[in-house]
């Protein structure tokens, strides 16, 4: 069960904006990531060709989603991977728990997975007395401080090294204060080696699942993902239904786009392709591999031809790095699992516009996210679409909780605007009224708010129509 969300977005934004340390950390980090990506994709022609290919691969996968999932399941099953389906996070959590219980497991080691964040899996397992040890370095840090990821690729990026040094000193017994990254790493390595050694079940996400061969692909640098999927006797992978691709040949371009966009790397240290549990005669690897395929609102998103594009996402996080809003407020202010531009379109669709629709308002529509998206999701268009849905006439549309922000005054204003532009007589009357009243706009309500930091609009005494009539002009 998801925790009830009591989140005042505007208050969180104000708080984040006032936090100088946080803003400095994000400015430094995002600038760095933008530069790395730019250096890697230095050839614009090649990049555009790659993006076109990536978009086509993902669109082809979505266009055949039901049959590809069917094929993935059949091939995984043939390979010995046990496939489970879950409509909701709650169901997925129960599936995980059932597998853990069947092995009497209480210690799990976990590779980074955004779907598991979506499920609030760690909190769920903790309530059942099961340890879910995060092993990605960034995730390890924020687990110590009981925080959620502030970025989908670099989860602890809101912290700088002295903040991390203090966390290690306070939370890991026997650790002296050190700002040396090598020493901090050594502490994490030592602590987690024991956990890998003792882990009874390994949990992971999936970056891509290949229907053609029934293969689960994982991308990582640290080796923790390989540890979690190799050392414990049982491996459980969780994935959203959209993560499937049709064939092996689709893997290299998506991999290239993912690592390049996420961290500016040509390739990560490890690319891990898992096709079966330990086979007869093999000496290591899990004896059981489970794949949990989770819907959690995705099939509803798929049903709308425009919003469907949200599901092209490969979770590289580059839209976060390039977003002027994200850079200034960081990931936590959003108050949802997925922050930044992708979160602005994903969270409202998953959780309902009434609960998360406010995220769609946090955009200047500058277009940067759409320009850098490796699979060309038109994020700004989808943000605008969701803004329309928020003020839709009713809740019968594609997105749950639509129409919640519709208010009478605004509806009347736009109705008036429509009439004024359809009827010449009304238009003339309106123009005359504006000319007469424009200088004396009452500073109340939204006008007062608008003019607090902006100059009030200046309305000419005479309309253009009128001036042309008086001063002459040729109709050419």
């Amino acid at each position: 069960m998801a925790e009830p969300i009591v989140h005042d977005f505007h208050a969180e934004v104000e708080k984040a904006l006032a936090n100088r340390q946080l803003r400095a950390n994000f400015r430094f980090a995002m600038g760095n990531m933008i530069e790395k990506r730019k250096a890697l994709f230095s050839d614009p022609v090649e990049l555009e060709a790659l993006r076109a290919a990536g978009q086509a691969i993902r669109q082809r996968a979505l266009s055949r989603l039901p049959e590809l999932l069917d094929q993935l399941e059949a091939n995984c099953t043939r390979n010995g991977i046990q496939v489970h389906w879950a409509e909701t996070s709650e169901e997925a959590n129960q599936e995980v728990l059932a597998i853990l219980k069947s092995h009497g497991a209480t210690r799990t080691v976990k590779g980074k997975s955004m779907v598991s964040e979506e499920m609030h899996l760690n909190a769920f397992l903790a309530r059942h007395g099961i340890e879910a040890m995060e092993t990605d370095f960034g995730e390890f840090i924020i687990q110590l401080t009981c925080e959620t990821p502030s970025h989908i690729i670099v989860p602890a990026i809101h912290k700088n090294r002295d903040q991390i040094a203090r966390v290690f000193q306070q939370k890991i017994p026997g650790t002296p204060y050190t700002e040396k990254v090598e020493e901090l790493n050594a502490v994490a390595r030592k602590t987690l080696r024991t956990k890998f050694f003792q882990g009874e079940v390994g949990l992971s996400g999936v970056n891509m699942a290949v229907a053609e061969t029934g293969t689960l692909c994982l991308v990582e640098n640290e080796g923790n993902g390989r540890m979690c999927t190799t050392v414990p006797p049982v491996h459980i992978a969780v994935m959203g239904i959209e993560k499937v691709v049709e064939k092996l040949a689709d893997v290299p371009p998506i991999l290239r786009l993912l690592t390049g966009s996420a961290t500016g790397q040509l390739i990560t240290t490890y690319f891990n392709m898992i096709t079966s549990p330990r086979r007869e005669g093999e000496k290591d690897g899990p004896r059981e591999v489970h794949l949990i395929i989770l819907d959690n609102g995705r099939s509803r998103i798929l049903a709308d031809p425009e919003l469907r594009q949200t599901l092209l996402c490969i979770r590289c996080g580059t839209c976060l790095n390039h977003c002027p809003v994200y850079v200034r407020i960081g990931g936590h202010a959003y108050g949802h699992v997925y922050p930044g531009p992708i979160g602005k379109i994903l969270a409202p669709q998953m959780e309902g516009l009434d609960k998360a629709g406010v995220l769609a308002t946090a955009s200047s529509l500058c277009g940067a996210c759409g320009e850098v998206c490796p699979v060309r999701i038109p994020i700004p268009d989808l943000i605008r679409r969701l803004r329309n849905e928020i003020v839709a006439a009713d809740d019968s549309g594609a997105v749950a909780g639509a129409g919640g922000k519709r208010d009478l005054a605004e509806t009347l204003v736009w109705k008036g605007w429509e009439l004024a532009n359809l009827s010449p007589a009304l238009n003339r009357l309106g123009t005359r009224l504006a000319s007469a009243m424009g200088q004396r706009l009452p500073r109340v309500g939204p006008i007062k708010q608008w003019t607090r930091a902006r100059r009030p609009p200046v309305v000419a005494r005479r309309s253009l129509h009128e001036r042309v009539r008086r001063e002459g002009g040729k109709d050419e």
Binding site: A29, A49, L50, A52, A53, Q55, A56, Q59, L62, S63, L65, L69, D70, W85, A86, E87, E91, E95, F137, G138, I157, V181, N185, A188, R189, L192, R193, F197, T213, T215, N221, E222, G223, M227, T230, L248, A249, P252, P253, I267, T269, Y270, F271, M273, I274, T275, S276, P277, R278, G281, E282, K283, D284, G285, I293, D295, S299, L302, A303, R308
Partner: protein, 221 residues
């Protein structure tokens, strides 16, 4: 809760979603430059060295001597190998003339359940063959198997990989197609481009996170 019910409901919703009408544009994949054999070695070595990998181009005839030399210089005490793997015989031969200064050769011959403590705590380096490599991104390709298990390239602090120069492909896509991977994938296929690393603290690159701290590649030609 019932996985089967969930499956049916999800697939039913997907079938009714109209997603089959999603427009799928034609887009040709950008092709990586085609390099000749010598260029592939150079490119691979350069890419991997940039990721702090130690690369040696060695003579196919006496590579095991180079390896023995390396083992002595690095001061390893216990070296893990796969006794029935493709690089076992030359290594055993090179070790047969042990002058007492060579590290112990440890065979990965039991299952991990019996061998885990030894593997995690006492091994200094693991040596494996590799299936091939790709030049464009600079990475080794491993298909661990019963003779050279998965943890050999992960648990020890050093991984030594033995690669034949004629097994370097231009790209992953080319290798997958040439070798018909789609016809049958192994339990675990891996690409490795360097020692394990992280940049999670202020983008400071640190090597040796949870996997090997050092990666040594011997390219035999």
């Amino acid at each position: 809760m019932n996985s089967q019910t969930a499956r049916e409901r999800i697939l039913k919703r997907l079938a009714a979603s109209g997603t089959e009408h999603t427009a799928v544009p034609d887009a040709d994949l950008p092709q990586p430059p085609s390099l000749n054999a010598e260029e592939r070695v150079t490119r691979l070595a350069a890419m991997m060295e940039a990721m702090r990998t130690e690369v040696h181009v060695v003579d196919a005839a006496d590579w095991a001597d180079t390896f023995r030399q390396l083992a002595r210089e690095k001061g390893w005490r216990r070296v893990l190998y796969g006794p029935r793997g493709p690089v076992a015989s030359p290594i055993e031969a090179a070790w047969s003339a042990d002058d007492g200064l060579l590290p112990d050769l440890v065979a990965y011959s039991d299952s991990v359940e019996a061998f885990k403590a030894d593997l995690f705590e006492t091994i200094d380096a693991g040596v494996t063959s590799v299936r091939g490599a790709v030049a464009d991104t600079g990475a080794l390709v491993l298909w661990p198997d019963a003779h050279e298990p998965r943890l050999m390239s992960l648990a020890p602090p050093v991984h030594v990989a033995v690669l034949d120069a004629d097994r370097i492909f231009n790209s992953l896509g080319e290798m997958m197609a040439a070798e018909k991977w789609a016809d049958g994938m192994p339990t675990n296929a891996l690409m490795i481009s360097g020692p394990s690393k992280t940049a999670d603290i202020e983008f400071t690159l640190v090597f040796g996170v949870h996997g090997p701290k050092e990666l040594v590649v011997l390219i035999r030609q």
